[in-house]
């Protein structure tokens, strides 16, 4: 105890300073550890798939049909099927989702109805994907596609109502909430001042949206679409019940593929991992590797596109 100091003061000051410093040290340690806890599994996970999967990748694996009941050969139809599925899904989900989001956040009057729609969208995003699969089977596979086949005079071909179109429609319903939510968020990021400036210059609401709001929200919208691409490429349950096939002997003609079943990477991975215990290990990891490359590729392309657009805007 230092007798020269008034009782308490100096000591208390030093004490509280020390305590604050210690709290800071602990907080930083916890924050750092959390950051590390995210990085380590990600690195391990990707590293694992790359180390196991990369050796399986060669030209033959990527470009030939499976052989010996999928115990050998390549996964070409599986890759094509996945790409096709993603393309058709996005062709349906992107325009509908973006336009719906524009309507909700730019046109619709704020009120209970819009709020209800927004809550419904959020809830849809939380529905388990197998439920979407069942829904797609009940609606698209059993009602809509058979009806389409009947109307086009093709109902003679039985058992084809589980097809790429049905699966893509189901997948589109699944990714729609994601597209709407991310697009709405991107639209919200556009400063109100820009809208006001445009309207005050005598622009109509549509001109303002088309010339000011959408171009400025584009980077965010694209990011959302790329997330949706990743989701559509990776989901298994929705296509399981609506059009993905275990095995196909040949690729259908591109013109007919929409109304034919298809093979897809996640479902293929599921079958060769669980239904065929004697399938060689490298096929599984090779398939997983291709799937990861596809999804990560889509996301990286999205990020690259976004930063390119942002840079171009600033200059």
């Amino acid at each position: 105890m230092n007798a020269n100091l008034p009782p308490g003061t100096g000591w208390v000051a030093a004490q509280s300073g020390r305590r604050a410093r210690r709290a800071q040290t602990i907080a930083f340690a916890a924050l750092g550890a959390s950051a590390l806890a995210i990085v380590v599994p990600a690195v391990l996970f990707v590293g694992f798939v790359v180390v196991r999967g990369a050796p399986a990748i060669n030209w033959e694996f990527l470009t030939t049909m499976p052989r010996d009941n999928m115990r050998a050969g390549g996964i070409m139809p599986v890759i094509i099927g996945s790409l096709y599925l993603v393309a058709v899904t996005m062709a349906m989900a992107a325009p509908v989702g973006v336009l719906a989001a524009v309507y909700l956040s730019e046109y619709a009057r704020k009120g209970p109805l819009v709020r209800a729609i927004r809550i419904a969208i959020l809830n849809l995003a939380g529905v388990p994907s197998i439920v979407y699969g069942l829904f797609g089977m009940g609606l698209f596979v059993m009602v809509i596609i058979p009806e389409v086949l009947r109307l086009t005079g093709r109902d003679g071909e039985s058992g084809k109502s589980a097809c790429l179109l049905a699966a893509a429609a189901t997948m589109a319903v699944l990714v729609l909430p994601l597209v709407v939510a991310t697009t709405e968020e991107a639209l919200r990021q556009v400063p109100q001042g820009l809208r006001a400036a445009s309207l005050a210059l005598g622009a109509t609401r549509w001109q303002t949206i088309w010339r000011i709001v959408l171009p400025n929200a584009l980077p965010g919208i694209l990011t959302g679409l790329m997330l949706a691409v990743g989701r559509a490429a990776g989901e298994t349950a929705p296509i399981l019940l609506t059009g993905a096939f275990f095995w196909m002997s040949h690729l259908p003609k591109p013109t007919e593929a929409l109304l034919q079943p298809f093979m897809a990477l996640p479902f293929h991975l599921f079958t060769i991992s669980t239904q065929m215990p004697d399938a060689p290990e490298r096929l599984r990891w090779g398939t997983a590797f291709v799937l990861i490359v596809l999804v990560v590729g889509a996301n990286s392309a999205g990020i690259a596109l976004r930063s390119w657009l942002r840079r171009r805007k600033k200059v």
Partner: protein, 271 residues
């Protein structure tokens, strides 16, 4: 509309002399509610053309609300209710037959925060003309050069018209926004505290610009800065709690205010 554009051309041809001392806006009993909140209480005012009218008053007194009634920018806000008449050249702007887009072409607006679009300087100024159908490049180039000169910005930006407007300083951005409004050839320019986000030097440039604007445009400016109102305007209106307390020649309002509350505000006793 044809008559109106003739007026503009006639005015330009006769040069700076503000010969057209007539009423631009005749506002009668203008009352505005936001939901249950009454923002304006039966305001009567006559805004003359080819002069600068300043609106002063403490925050929340309704002066910005009033300004936004003149080009119907309040329409965008949910739950807003407007009663009374805003006659522009004798025509009620709240008449159902009035096209808002057309009105805003005639009544331009400059906002508190400079809000250039994230595009090039050229495209910012050309935005309005392009909206309204001017596509030919030589014509657009003429408009851009003329309005940037009018806005006293040309010399600073003539070598970088293709660069982003966001790279300009705040004061330059605000002058760009004024040029952008002028490019639509409005009859009236409304300014909502155009200098409150700017430094004194930039403010000085904008005030100079306002003085020159009155030769060709009717200008209504909302300002927090009483000195600015005194320096730049011919008419001043004082708002308090949604009411127009006093309106008259700027000199009279500042030197011999008729109302006690105006005097208190001008002497800095509140607000």
């Amino acid at each position: 509309m044809a008559v109106a554009s003739e007026q503009i051309d006639g005015r330009r041809a006769t040069g700076p002399a503000p010969s057209c001392r007539c009423t631009k806006f005749d506002v009668r009993g203008l009352t505005v509610h936001y939901g249950h909140f009454q923002a304006l209480k039966a305001v009567d005012i006559e805004v003359g053309s080819c002069e600068v009218t300043a609106l002063i008053g403490p925050s929340g007194c309704g002066k910005s609300t009033f300004l936004r009634c003149l080009n119907r920018m309040n329409d965008v806000i949910d739950g807003v209710r407007v009663e009374g008449q805003v006659l522009m050249d004798g025509q009620d702007v709240y008449d159902r037959r009035v096209d808002v887009v057309d009105l805003r072409k005639r009544v331009g607006m400059v906002f508190q925060q400079p809000n250039p679009f994230p595009m090039s300087i050229f495209d910012n100024v050309a935005y309005g003309p392009r909206l309204h159908g001017t596509r030919r490049m030589p014509e657009l180039e003429d408009i851009v050069e003329r309005t940037l000169r009018e806005a006293a910005l040309w010399d600073e930006v003539k070598d970088k018209l293709r660069q982003s407007a966001l790279a300009l300083s705040g004061g330059q951005q605000q002058r760009l926004c004024i040029a952008r409004v002028m490019a639509v050839q409005p009859e009236v320019i409304l300014m909502d505290e155009p200098c409150s986000a700017l430094d004194p030097n930039a403010t000085f440039r904008i005030e100079e610009l306002m003085l020159s604007l009155r030769e060709n445009y009717t200008v209504v400016i909302v300002t927090h800065n009483m000195y600015q109102a005194a320096r730049c305007s011919q008419k001043t209106g004082f708002f308090l709690l949604g009411e127009l307390i006093e309106f008259g020649d700027t000199e009279q309002v500042f030197q011999a205010p008729a109302d006690r509350r105006t005097e208190d505000y001008i002497r800095g006793r509140f607000g």
